[in-house]
Symmetry: D4
Subunit: 248 residues, 8 copies
Amino acid sequence: MSNEIRDLLESVKEGTVSVEDALKEIKLQPYEDLGYAKPDLHRKKLQGTSEVIYGAGKTAAQIAGIIESFRKNGEDNILITRLDPVKAAEVAETCEFTYYEEGQIGIAGCKAEPSGIGKIVVATGGTSDIPVAEEAALTAEFLGNEVVRLYDVGVAGLHRILSNMDYIMDASVVIAIAGMEGALASVIGGMADCPVIAVPTSVGYGASFGGIAALLSMLNSCASGVSVVNIDNGFGAGYLAGMINHMK
Amino acid sequence: MSNEIRDLLESVKEGTVSVEDALKEIKLQPYEDLGYAKPDLHRKKLQGTSEVIYGAGKTAAQIAGIIESFRKNGEDNILITRLDPVKAAEVAETCEFTYYEEGQIGIAGCKAEPSGIGKIVVATGGTSDIPVAEEAALTAEFLGNEVVRLYDVGVAGLHRILSNMDYIMDASVVIAIAGMEGALASVIGGMADCPVIAVPTSVGYGASFGGIAALLSMLNSCASGVSVVNIDNGFGAGYLAGMINHMK
Amino acid sequence: MSNEIRDLLESVKEGTVSVEDALKEIKLQPYEDLGYAKPDLHRKKLQGTSEVIYGAGKTAAQIAGIIESFRKNGEDNILITRLDPVKAAEVAETCEFTYYEEGQIGIAGCKAEPSGIGKIVVATGGTSDIPVAEEAALTAEFLGNEVVRLYDVGVAGLHRILSNMDYIMDASVVIAIAGMEGALASVIGGMADCPVIAVPTSVGYGASFGGIAALLSMLNSCASGVSVVNIDNGFGAGYLAGMINHMK
Amino acid sequence: MSNEIRDLLESVKEGTVSVEDALKEIKLQPYEDLGYAKPDLHRKKLQGTSEVIYGAGKTAAQIAGIIESFRKNGEDNILITRLDPVKAAEVAETCEFTYYEEGQIGIAGCKAEPSGIGKIVVATGGTSDIPVAEEAALTAEFLGNEVVRLYDVGVAGLHRILSNMDYIMDASVVIAIAGMEGALASVIGGMADCPVIAVPTSVGYGASFGGIAALLSMLNSCASGVSVVNIDNGFGAGYLAGMINHMK
Amino acid sequence: MSNEIRDLLESVKEGTVSVEDALKEIKLQPYEDLGYAKPDLHRKKLQGTSEVIYGAGKTAAQIAGIIESFRKNGEDNILITRLDPVKAAEVAETCEFTYYEEGQIGIAGCKAEPSGIGKIVVATGGTSDIPVAEEAALTAEFLGNEVVRLYDVGVAGLHRILSNMDYIMDASVVIAIAGMEGALASVIGGMADCPVIAVPTSVGYGASFGGIAALLSMLNSCASGVSVVNIDNGFGAGYLAGMINHMK
Amino acid sequence: MSNEIRDLLESVKEGTVSVEDALKEIKLQPYEDLGYAKPDLHRKKLQGTSEVIYGAGKTAAQIAGIIESFRKNGEDNILITRLDPVKAAEVAETCEFTYYEEGQIGIAGCKAEPSGIGKIVVATGGTSDIPVAEEAALTAEFLGNEVVRLYDVGVAGLHRILSNMDYIMDASVVIAIAGMEGALASVIGGMADCPVIAVPTSVGYGASFGGIAALLSMLNSCASGVSVVNIDNGFGAGYLAGMINHMK
Amino acid sequence: MSNEIRDLLESVKEGTVSVEDALKEIKLQPYEDLGYAKPDLHRKKLQGTSEVIYGAGKTAAQIAGIIESFRKNGEDNILITRLDPVKAAEVAETCEFTYYEEGQIGIAGCKAEPSGIGKIVVATGGTSDIPVAEEAALTAEFLGNEVVRLYDVGVAGLHRILSNMDYIMDASVVIAIAGMEGALASVIGGMADCPVIAVPTSVGYGASFGGIAALLSMLNSCASGVSVVNIDNGFGAGYLAGMINHMK
Amino acid sequence: MSNEIRDLLESVKEGTVSVEDALKEIKLQPYEDLGYAKPDLHRKKLQGTSEVIYGAGKTAAQIAGIIESFRKNGEDNILITRLDPVKAAEVAETCEFTYYEEGQIGIAGCKAEPSGIGKIVVATGGTSDIPVAEEAALTAEFLGNEVVRLYDVGVAGLHRILSNMDYIMDASVVIAIAGMEGALASVIGGMADCPVIAVPTSVGYGASFGGIAALLSMLNSCASGVSVVNIDNGFGAGYLAGMINHMK
């Protein structure tokens, strides 16, 4: 039970706050005051001072407005995801930020200094998985993690992943990103002894069904320590990896 | 065009066969006589003198009857698939044959002498895939192929498949059998330079959906030279592998 | 590159090991000696001295044999999962262990002392999810984690989860287990600021389709920090949670 | 049995209507006259004098024509759904009406005065569900219901829905609209003690499958009093809510 | 805001309750005391004094125990759903109640007196849908609603539903229960001008897929005022219908 | 408009029937009297005097009761479908009929004399499709059609169907029954120039998914004149074929 | 066995045809000469002198070329399906034909005179099903059938179909075309005593899944005499209906 | 174990290579040097000197760059798949190659001389399957195989495939390509006694679901010797067929 409620009760007892006002206070901020929740559970405070804006479905003007609002509140470091180049150019007219086209990510302010337990490896099966991988990698970097990128190490050319085994054995967390048959997650899960976050991608042809084949493959991985996020959800993987890499 | 038709026409010309009889002959054996097809396309003649009986859905009496019929026609080597132990015991009361319980296979007569180009490797991801593997391996052996069994070499313990890489590199054909995420086919497909026949199995839990996860994974393999047969279809894989191993 | 290879090369140079013997050594233990992998990547060494046996599909005799084998190699603490009561009774005839019926778990030796960063909360939506939850909780405990059980806190009675919010806010990792609509993962994901591992269960009626409804719901959670394991995969969740809780 | 038939029979008896004419009358309006059905069961008379036009798949000219026809028959209040802005502008050239772009709704004439039992709460999980929500809200308002809009109260930020609990506890009917994991319906269903109509939306990414994840989630809600309409069917939910709010 | 909190604050102000005790009180009963929710949101108070026990997955002893507990708390009228005959007989040994085998429903105490707005019609497409229908009908009756049963009025014999049209036109709510093609909901939806709750059943053959065909058919009904509950969820439909029939 | 209504109106005019009685008459028999429908649309009168009982889900006593009822009403020829041997034996204790075990069909009375346009060919892909085929064939025979059975003529042994091409070319209607890949319907559809009714069966293994593979295959047949009934619906195919064979 | 073969054999016997020439003749025209099949089984001769071109996927030039070719061979009456307006205009530049835009059908020459047993009713659930209906209706008319069009008679407004019941009772064949829930087929199947061909359409929203909901609904119809063709396959239904209407 | 490692060890023994250098060598080329794998397992060396570029998702500049790189390394014969005409024209500006538009294939250098065991037959069900067929045929030809094209021999016109039976009986491998119902694979599988590679195509309408109907049909083929590759995967089929045709 938070101190605010205790203080409020004390004030009521002392008569400095009326019963009605206390009642209103509890009603208006029911959980924050009670210590049940942070001011905005949905946009949980990230490490350091930073915020995230989900860019898809928002206009350039709306995004610029939110950035402005955050800045006024002292949040200078802001991650904008799913920001296509056209919209990025429009936002750039009114506020400054760095745009990473491959991951469709904009970063206002700067990435946090690496402060995690170890390194996060972001591995992809093919080159077409790279956009999802960059979304994951940039998100993790923004949140203060060192990232090692291992792209195009799919299992159909096994030596590619094997010759990078050192990185995987050393990793704090591995994000395994693959479309098609999604076997990368299992192979990495069998090599690594750290948490592996699998991201199926919608890359593929024929019976890949927009990522379902990879998703099912990853869910059925018999390697321990593997969990899965939604198809193409690079942000989710990067965020979770960063969270795990800051466990203490 | 087969010689039989030519001979028949010659006989008609010579008057030794009447028009009506020739007509009847052509009608009764329309394709065989014309050289379009073998007497029984469905049960294509296997290498040597041998036959296959699909045991599921047939009674012990029916199976014994078919064996008897084959033997009367000089077919002494007969493969019986999907033969459960109870039925096998019943069939054994009336006719002699060897029963392989793990693959639910009965073999009357004997396996053909190995005569193929090379060896067929039958690999499984786990131990629970072994029944399907034995169905494949025994079928291939019956048809005159040497078989190397690599069981429980799933990709979640990558060293297991790697330490058997020599067998895979040397194989004439590889049959890759796996349930769960089915990644074995891709990993083997990436290592081997021979045809790889992938068999998804219905082994698995949760979202494996009776083999669909493995099936989709295998169909989406980005390794070249991989094709897929139906879920749990060990016989089909063994038959096809034997066929490829006897290409000439 | 591991010291073993270096030592081996030194020995070759010094003439104390022949070229042939060195060659054989490298071939036989290709990855362990090269430092690429642990002796058995599949059964990665758990915290302390302990092993895991997946009980489903193994006979009581096989399980007893494996336990015996582990014990001879000095592994006294062994977790056996998916062990039904009948089989457990049979195994108990030949070797001693504790059986936890609700989670279908057997533990030979003892659970490791709690040594993780914090506590792991295992929460379920309903009472019928408890078997999966116990599999997760016992696995985590076996691996040296303190576990808080919050059972039957499904979102249809929101006050139940709210009145336990303190536990969730304090957790190191939360395992959210639910069938039916699987909303528990999202609600907990919105409250917690630690990693949340979602486990869909096959509990449900009508259009729950053996866990697919819950699985899809959990994959689509818009709360950050949530990842998903396979349907009913309590062991996987407990193992991963333990791994995260021991990050350092 | 309606009075019209009785009157008709009386007229036949009295000779003022011929048998043939009576026969024709019954044939032309077989059910209305018999009291079994309204003149147009498909377009059931709404509360007051009003009509609905489903705009999708109709040209602007067709829509204008139908409006004209309704007006000639004394129906001045008309709801046009699924009316995109371009078509709305075209229709507006020939007849007057108010256009609500967010819900793609046009209203000719006016909304009925609120006359329901209580208030209808329209809640959405996110901002991208708002178009469906506006379709529902405007439909309900058109039919004479007071509507409270609670937008962007998704469960991933639980305090948002909790701080609006009063509205939900007071509601006559709640329409819960959500894409992604659709958990909103369960959470609201657990709080409210009035009927909850769940509307899955096609909003989402990855494995949301155009609303299927939300649909399944909502169908499996274990909260009592929840029922579901088709994906994105805001009109259907608004209509049903209005109907329930006018029970008597 | 509930009077309890106000009273508590007054007591704190007056000094009759200490700050610590008030704090504890708020913590222990966070929502009940705050007026946000009923004591048990999950088991919302039904009309009159009554409770519901979901019998599936509970032992006879557990059910008897819960009944006992309710009775001690003054809840004499209890509905037990999904209670098979064997379990019912076991429960009957320790406590008295009426068992309705067709709907697999037990009722301890008595059904509430009918007090709704009108009558609830429960209609089924075939005779094999009757168990689901009885679950719905008995639930509604238990909650104080008069029920009209129209069984086996499927659309393949249209005159059967037409000759009962009066009941449907007069109904306050209709529950339309059907497997197979589920067309009953659309046909009734087209005739009725009251809310229609559609219940798909798992009855069917071939491509009915355990109720999916009926579910999709019902969700796609183009009749207004139709909503859908889960497959075979008779209780949910009966509960919701009762709720609507008591709107005021 | 039927003569009965005209007569009724004339009677009203003449005063021999009162307005009230006419009103009642129209109400009680709304469609039959109006000529819109037969007395029992659901159990449409078959050719000659005969009836059908769907045996699944009915007890032996119920079936015997219905037979008795039909016989009292002069219906001596009755088809009972989905009647398993155990139930058949029970029914046989109280009433006489012929039981056809393979098609799970009972026929009380006798089959109608063949009176159709031509012959109906019932063809199956394999021997395991025969139960469905017999249901179709016996239904057609019962309804007065001559049936030619071509069993086990699946396309994997093309000569089998080709050597029976005469029967197919001569048929009035063909019923093509197959599980597995369902190709039989397309091949027959390409050969025949009469209506082909395709019946997918649930026979199959692996990815046949209980008949879905065959169902999709048949729906996608590019041969003209092919339509499809539900999986395993032999009765439906036999009934429809009989109907077509009696077109005039 | 056809006379051509007999004649050929006679000629061989008489020596007017050499053995080699006879052999070649049999080989080149194996089935036509043997009487097994028509010259082109795929494009089976329709009633009278007419041909069908499937327009989708063919260029205007190709279509014009095929028309030309048919005409040179004396086929003056040609049906072109799936012909969009742009392509139709292009084809019209080089050859004369009538274009029916609603059904995307072109007819060169003329429709055959009605010669069937009775009338074919083409009924649709809604107005958006009309394109599929016109494809069916024009196909049937082209093949010499009289067609009655009953459009927009969906079951959600039951009186619409009921007031047209005479047409359905009188029909020789009914084609029931509907998207959404597809209930029309069942309702018509319950009223008609002639074959009903159900055509699911891809019209619909939300969970209609491009026609799957209607397809499943139609396959599960419990009315007898109903069979189903592929989604949107108006041509297939019209062709089959015409075939049935010319049974003799 | 390869000679390179042996040589390396000898050199270490002789002191001509230092321990550190040997260590580095093993690490950098771990598998090639150890004989475990070819230099690039993923792009396995094809017959002769040739390479493959998967064109989809690569820019013209990237493709030209890779071609340049290959040529510098002495690979003059290069196959580029999934190369659309626009990109092909761009690539052609900087490097010379032959473009085959129908199969969307570019070939730099030349096809290898036919050197296989026999001929590969590429058969399609319809004309719209030809693009996939050309991808397969050109791939096989590039890899040194003689190809026989049998296009538009779908089973709905059975004489078309029958009159080409000689080619199929003579083939070394058959690639059976079909959309819609995919029956071609079964029919060819029943005729041929060589391996049949089935390729489902996404061609089709209605319930073909982008190739799923054909895929399932082909997986369920009961003909022996049939295996399946991914939907539209002409390259995979051509590559595998070439591999089988070069077995020795």
